[in-house]
């Protein structure tokens, strides 16, 4: 049996009596006399409207939120008067530095204003007017199949954590909700595009699926965010940028520009969260390294994901002929180096510059860079 309210309200005579008297205009009004902080929240910039930052005032704001939430264990909005008898919702995460990020309120507001629609914001009719040759069409459909497959991991994982966070962290919860919607839209747009190429969906990737399982099973929100927002989405962001570059049509370039905008926001949250963790909870540093050790193992193993690597080579080289493949390999290698460089750069900016020295992925990348340089 699940949780049952401490009172069955329809059977509680006092409650029903109070209810019926209220409907006759007999009011208690004790809520009206509840001591409260009276604040006037105004839009700092009227063109931006009333933002969460405008609400960052006194006990209602996020700046004054303590590191450890000890009092509110219910759904009460932060700053509301708490009456005795509120239920304990048993949040698992009650420490601000486990979830918070610099500018999380800004990322949320941006997400709300930059929602777009995969159904109507892509020139589908134009895309369908372009008949893709078989090698490009199949390679593109395969890349899109991969993207369809991975997008909603970034819905499922944050959603799993949303209900486990203390209600005082509602700005983070709200941000997670926007991310869930963003990722649903990404899965939608990649699926629709794959199905509109005429080639249908291609093959799922076993290696990537094992990586998704790793992302799903992180032990803490901070670890889940680290590998999901910063590592995985960071790498996907670079992938989107290159995909825009190698896209077969203008409509496809627009598609990647739109998803990039969302992805950049998620990576932004991941970076600002890691920064916050390192600034406020430095004991986590070693746990972060250990989690990244395994995350990078999956990244290196992505060579086995030929369902991603090979179509990328074909799209970059614009075909399957020998010279096309050679050119595709050159561009793809450059992309891989860029992807890894950006990843380590992000970690360094967040306060983890020593990651390069510790990382086997970095060493492998350096070796690849040297062998490319000597081959050139």
């Amino acid at each position: 049996m699940s949780y049952l309210s401490t009172t069955d309200f329809t059977e509680d005579e006092a409650f029903v009596d109070r209810f019926q008297r209220t409907m006759k205009g007999d009011l208690d009004l004790s809520w009206l006399d509840e001591p409260r902080e009276r604040v006037g929240c105004r839009p700092e910039n009227p063109r931006r409207g009333l933002t969460f930052r405008d609400l960052d005032v006194g006990g209602y704001g996020f700046s004054e939120m303590p590191e450890v939430i000890r009092k509110n264990r219910s759904f009460a909005p932060r700053g509301a008067a708490l009456a005795d008898g509120l239920p304990d919702l048993q949040a698992d995460v009650n420490r601000k530095s486990e979830v918070w990020a610099y500018n999380v309120e800004g990322y949320y507001e941006e997400a709300m204003t930059r929602q777009w629609n995969a159904t109507t914001d892509i020139p589908w009719a134009d895309l369908q007017a372009h008949e893709l040759p078989e090698d490009i069409g199949k390679a593109y459909a395969q890349l899109l199949t991969f993207l369809t497959e991975v997008e909603m991991i970034a819905t499922d994982v944050p959603a799993k954590w949303l209900g486990r966070l203390n209600a005082d962290f509602f700005e983070v919860k709200n941000f997670i909700a926007t991310q869930a919607m963003d990722e649903a839209r990404h899965a939608e747009i990649f699926r629709k595009r794959a199905l509109s190429t005429g080639w249908g969906l291609m093959r799922a990737s076993a290696h990537n699926e094992f990586n998704l399982k790793f992302l799903r099973d992180a032990d803490s929100f901070a670890e889940a965010s680290l590998t999901l927002h910063l590592q995985a989405e960071g790498m996907v962001l670079t992938l989107f940028r290159f995909s825009e570059y190698i896209s077969p049509t203008e409509g496809d370039k627009k598609l990647f520009r739109l998803v990039m905008q969302d992805e950049a926001r998620h990576v932004g949250y991941g970076m600002q969260h890691l920064k916050w963790v390192l600034d406020h909870y430095p004991e986590r540093r070693e746990a972060i390294h250990r989690h990244l050790d395994e995350a990078e193992n999956f990244v290196f193993g992505a060579v086995y994901a030929t369902e991603v690597l090979e179509p990328f080579i074909i799209l970059a080289g614009k075909g399957l002929k020998k010279e096309n493949v050679a050119e595709g390999i050159r561009i793809t290698m450059a992309f891989n180096l860029k992807q890894t460089d950006e990843y380590f750069e992000r970690l360094a900016k967040c306060g983890l510059p020593e990651r390069r020295d510790r990382s086997r992925l970095w060493k492998a990348t350096e070796m690849a860079r040297q062998s490319m340089a000597s081959a050139a």
Binding site: S2, T10, I153, N297, V303
Partner: protein, 369 residues
Amino acid sequence: MGYFAETDFFEDGQLIELLNQILAGNLTLEWYRVDNVRARAVAADPRRGLTYADCNLGQYGYDDIPELVRNRNSMAARGSVLPAKLPDLGYTINRKSDVWADGVVVLYEEAKTRRWAPAVDVPWAELAARFDRTREAAMAQLSTLLAEVALVAMEAAARWVFSINQEFLELKSFLCAQMIDEARHVEAWRKRALVSGEGLGRASVSAEQGLKELLSAETYPEASVGVNLLLGSFVLAACRALAALADTHADRRLAVLSMQDVARSVAYGTAQVRYHLAHQPARAAVLAEYLDRTEHTVLGIFGSPEFLEPLVLLAGRGQQPAARARGGAFARRWFATAVEEYLARTAAAGLAAREERSRLARLVRASAA
């Protein structure tokens, strides 16, 4: 850390060999040769764009999802070719009629086109300088309670997404739309409480007890009927009342925009029960029993002093005895109508005889006597 790769890839000679082969231009092209089904989705109505309904094609479509999903437990895109070895991602909801609803795809498309942003779509400046303190305090208290309710509605959708098989992509996408809708309501009601200077009111013990019970449903069908149909019906009625009682454009707009979102959840909740019972008729008794014991939660929420008393003050437009009596009469009609509409929806969904079984209906009859 919960899960590790089977291989330490940095020590994997086969991987290096594969990489060298690919870099030499010898692609495997195994994926290129798969025997997949070709498809070409085309927009039926170009003005509407390419909808999910346009992509409902053969094995790729949602109509072809079997009632029991037995062989797809990964995140592989529905209809894609599966390689030999895929992990089990641990989905616990694998039965279509436990989650699906006719029209869920349309509701998802609608959610995207009707998006709004509280920061800019409500003329907040209009509410900045209000002089009727009682009225403002009442609005702030109602907003406090509605923010609590919205947070639970957001979490209700979020807590199930993780467990639902990825084959039900369109349904999961709708739940994501619900999450962002409710995040918007958490935001909007909080802003409404804080904009006029009154500050947040009091969190309601009875409302939160009711909300926790609703959130703790053990199965998805119970959670959906409880949150989308039962709770949603009352939130919809509350937003409609606030729109009717609003004396500013801003308050009316806030209530109307919220109503639009909540109506989608109620529509899904009603259609979900209908679909569920059409495919699992024996479950009617289970859902009926669930509602028998759970309906009391909405009395705890919407019969709480923190909701009902400010509603009486807003409707009566004052604190004088005559105004209170007027407001009380409004609240009585409001509650009776909300119950009536909820019962009509349960009947439309296929839950017969709730009118007789429902303790809420009995309460309305007793209150009218």
